[in-house]
Point group: C2
Chain length 184, copies 2
Amino acid sequence: MDGNMAMGVETEAGQAHLQHLERVGKGAAIADVIFGLVGRSQFFAEFSREDISVLAGYMNVYRAQAGETIIRENDGGDFMLLIIEGAVDIFKKGAREEQQHMTNVGPGMTLGEMSMIDGEPRFATCVATEPTAFAVLHRDDMAKIILDHPSLGSKILVKLVSMLSSRLRQTSARLLQYMERGLV
Amino acid sequence: MDGNMAMGVETEAGQAHLQHLERVGKGAAIADVIFGLVGRSQFFAEFSREDISVLAGYMNVYRAQAGETIIRENDGGDFMLLIIEGAVDIFKKGAREEQQHMTNVGPGMTLGEMSMIDGEPRFATCVATEPTAFAVLHRDDMAKIILDHPSLGSKILVKLVSMLSSRLRQTSARLLQYMERGLV
């Protein structure tokens, strides 16, 4: 994959951000578990078993205890993650540096896709609220998938565009509501 | 491209939405014009001349007069567009059905990517504020690019993910500001 695609190789830096968490193993070993989540996961809803097996081979699985921070706002980090089991709170700092709780997400949800693709600092903080297992996909492994399995690569990218579109529609609609209240 | 990728063939319906506008011709004929926009366009910043020539071959160019509606909120429509020259106002309906002005965009900007990928109704209304030329890419042509030019297809998709991420970060940051004001 060429450097123009803004997906450089930053694995070591990316993995450094995960060093405080327990590494369970390669995703390939848990392809069955990931496949079991298909029914619950917006992300994998249209992926075949073979797609998931290939993708799982590029992922690593980690475990976080309740209260452990998985991603910290403004940190670097070039991976996205898929929650396999457990639950994660999402916080974002307000103007006075206080943590605002944005939402809570569970198995089948993905986090961190924006930084995986655009390399910008993390937008929010993600904290496990119970023992949580998640599969990690790094930017350079995403680039390898695009090169080695272009059809699967496109499928993942189409899914990411679709998910981001959905979040952008929701967020814009909420913003519009607040803007309107401001006009009353 | 397989149907699992949620990119069905809807060209006729999509083109019906453009019938009121003047069709200028195939994008291939204006590859040079599109290439000339590279410096101004966030979308094409990392595309080679060859990439743009191939992509332009899948696009059609239309012209709208000042005041003409290009995309209408809640309509169907399976294309995205790249503004070549002119300017476009973006409106979204509020709770009382009044049109709220969201922003104004010019040459090099893209519109309608969300519906091209996810097939959901248009999120906002786009009206030309001066004579405006734009290149249109339909969903089925995007699917053909992914099949016939997988490397270019991935590059476009990575760019879409990156642009949507950027908009989502901006929109979420604005929403957070409004949420905070609500807490004062």
